[in-house]
């Protein structure tokens, strides 16, 4: 393969990785931005979306596309409902105190993880891709499904942005984010907004999981990686900043794929160095640098 083709391949892999990461991380960022809750169970909502997608796919006979389409709609709704319930039963009772909610969501993490193990078992659970075609690029063919994932993620992120900036629900969410006491003085049911936001955040993670599960099998321990990567993304982008989250997801996604795919071709003498592990180290280094030199993140606002 020529250098240009390898670059394009790395770019596409980076975009696919970044798009799913952006969706997951936007859920985490939304919850923190509006509720000031650091949701340590976010990765488990991702995992739950994936295993429920497998369960849905296994229940529905017929073409994989039909089962996948049902999973894409139903799984985020179920995960969102579970999250809303967790908000009302646990977080609300803690009055959304930052420290207490961290401990509570750690507890939620274990409940969801062990619940998935109990119900779905310890094995990796495959979900067939809804479409099976390849795009032919110069020098290589590329999964049509992965391109569909990129397009779907872009559309979903655009939809999220439109909801937040162009709808009444988004206006209510932004007002609640700015000042919840004053929001209540104007009739906004803050408890309902919080339950909705927590559900939406979890639902975004679940959508990302349903999109990724035909590429990466569902498993009850799969929540850790998206959680850690999402934290990296929101730290780099700025906690609560959706724009920053998307930019940081692109950065992390690109680093994650460019290093192991493209760099060994550019520097063949040092090819053995450019491993996926190095990509993870680089991402962690970026997080560390951001924390030291710009703790509010690239697009976050400095605390007053």
């Amino acid at each position: 393969m020529q250098l240009g083709s390898i670059f394009l391949l790395a770019l596409l892999e980076g975009l696919a990785s970044a798009s799913v990461l952006a969706l997951t991380a936007c859920g985490l960022s939304l919850v923190f931005g509006i509720m000031r809750v650091v949701n340590v169970a976010h990765g488990e909502f991702f995992m739950l979306g994936a295993v429920l997608a497998w369960f849905t796919a296994s229940l529905i006979p017929g073409p994989p596309a039909l089962a996948f389409a049902v999973a894409l709609v139903v799984c985020p709704l179920i995960v969102g409902a579970i999250a809303a319930l967790a908000d009302m039963l646990v977080l609300k009772r803690l009055n959304y105190e930052p420290e207490a909610t961290i401990v509570a969501t750690i507890g939620l993490l274990y409940i969801l993880q062990q619940g998935a193990l109990t119900v779905f078992g310890p094995n990796a659970l495959p979900v067939p891709a809804p479409v099976d075609f390849r795009f032919q690029f110069p020098g290589f063919g590329y999964s049509g499904y992965k391109i569909a994932v990129i397009v779907a993620a872009v559309l979903l992120l655009l939809g999220l942005w439109l909801i937040l900036t162009r709808t009444r629900i988004g206006l209510v969410m932004r007002a609640t984010q700015i000042d919840r006491a004053t929001a209540r003085a104007f009739g906004i049911n803050v408890d309902r907004v919080y339950a909705g936001v927590f559900a939406m955040g979890a639902g975004l993670a679940a959508i990302a999981a349903v999109l990724i599960v035909p590429i990466q099998q569902a498993h009850y321990l799969m929540g850790a990686d998206p959680l850690l990567l999402s934290f990296s993304v929101v730290i780099i982008g700025g906690l609560g900043s959706l724009r920053g989250t998307v930019v940081a997801a692109l950065l992390i996604g690109m680093v994650d794929q460019m290093i192991p795919i493209f760099m060994p071709v550019v520097f063949p003498a040092y090819g053995a160095w450019f491993t996926p592990t190095l990509a993870k180290i680089m991402a962690t280094l970026v997080v560390a640098l951001v924390l030291v030199f710009r703790p509010q993140g690239l697009f976050g606002k400095r605390a007053a």
């Binding site: 004053t182 209540r184 104007f186 049911n189």
Partner: protein, 232 residues
């Protein structure tokens, strides 16, 4: 609408601020709460809005207890609130702040137009972030946002604080105009001249309770109550 606070006790955690606060505001009346810092004036308004827990006593609006409602239901009873320091949604535009006010009781474009006609300067700044407005414009917006509810009772917490004289006059004229339309108003004010120019009665608050309520007709700027309870 008649608003009655009866033997209210309220505070912040272990700190009790209101200790048996009692007053009533008659329909269409402007009642001014005056007192030293920490006397409990702002806490009284926050207690009405459900923003601080009322541990004893009652807030009654035209016979309906309000203090048992969730905080977000209080404005839907027709109580508009202009908090101390304005508390605008600073990262929202002027238009969006007004929209939040309109949403509270499902009001429409007609109300929006009427509110903007009271404060035409806001119409010129609809797309501007509210945090970038001048102090006077921010106060206009805070009042406009509350008026979008078409309130029967309006709570104003130090609306003239930090404003230039022309803006103070505009806000005074607005309160007088609202009074003429029958809006019942509770005003927290530190400026004696401003209080005397708009209020029907002044309730002097000290130590979390009302020490004395006096019609403004019987008061001048040199009346001893101002020295005793306000320290001016």
């Amino acid at each position: 609408m008649m608003l009655t606070l009866q033997s209210i006790e309220a505070g912040y955690g272990a700190v009790q601020v209101l200790r048996g606060l009692t007053f009533e505001v008659r329909p269409g009346e402007v009642l001014c709460l005056m007192g030293r810092n920490g006397a409990g004036k702002t806490t009284a308004l926050r207690a009405i809005m459900g923003q601080v827990p009322v541990t004893a006593g009652s807030v009654v609006l035209d016979g309906t207890p309000v203090n048992t409602l969730p905080a977000h239901e209080v404005p839907k009873q027709g109580i508009g609130y202009v908090p101390q320091g304005r508390r605008l949604f600073g990262e929202l535009t002027v238009a969006e702040n007004i929209e939040i006010g309109l949403m509270t009781r499902g009001r429409d474009a007609r109300v929006r137009e009427r509110v903007l006609s009271i404060f035409p300067r806001l119409r010129e700044r609809l797309d501007q972030m509210s945090r970038t407005l001048s102090g006077g414009e921010q106060q206009m917006l805070a009042i406009a946002r509350a008026l979008c509810l078409e309130p029967k009772v309006l709570l104003l917490d130090e609306p003239t604080e930090g404003l230039q004289p022309s803006m103070i006059a505009l806000i005074r004229d607005t309160v007088v105009a609202l009074k003429a339309t029958g809006v019942t108003t509770v005003l927290v004010e530190q400026r004696v001249d401003a209080a005397l120019s708009v209020a029907d009665r002044i309730a002097f608050v000290t130590g979390g309770r009302v020490a004395e309520t006096v019609p403004t007709a019987g008061l001048t700027t040199t009346s001893p109550q101002f020295a005793t309870y306000v320290g001016v």
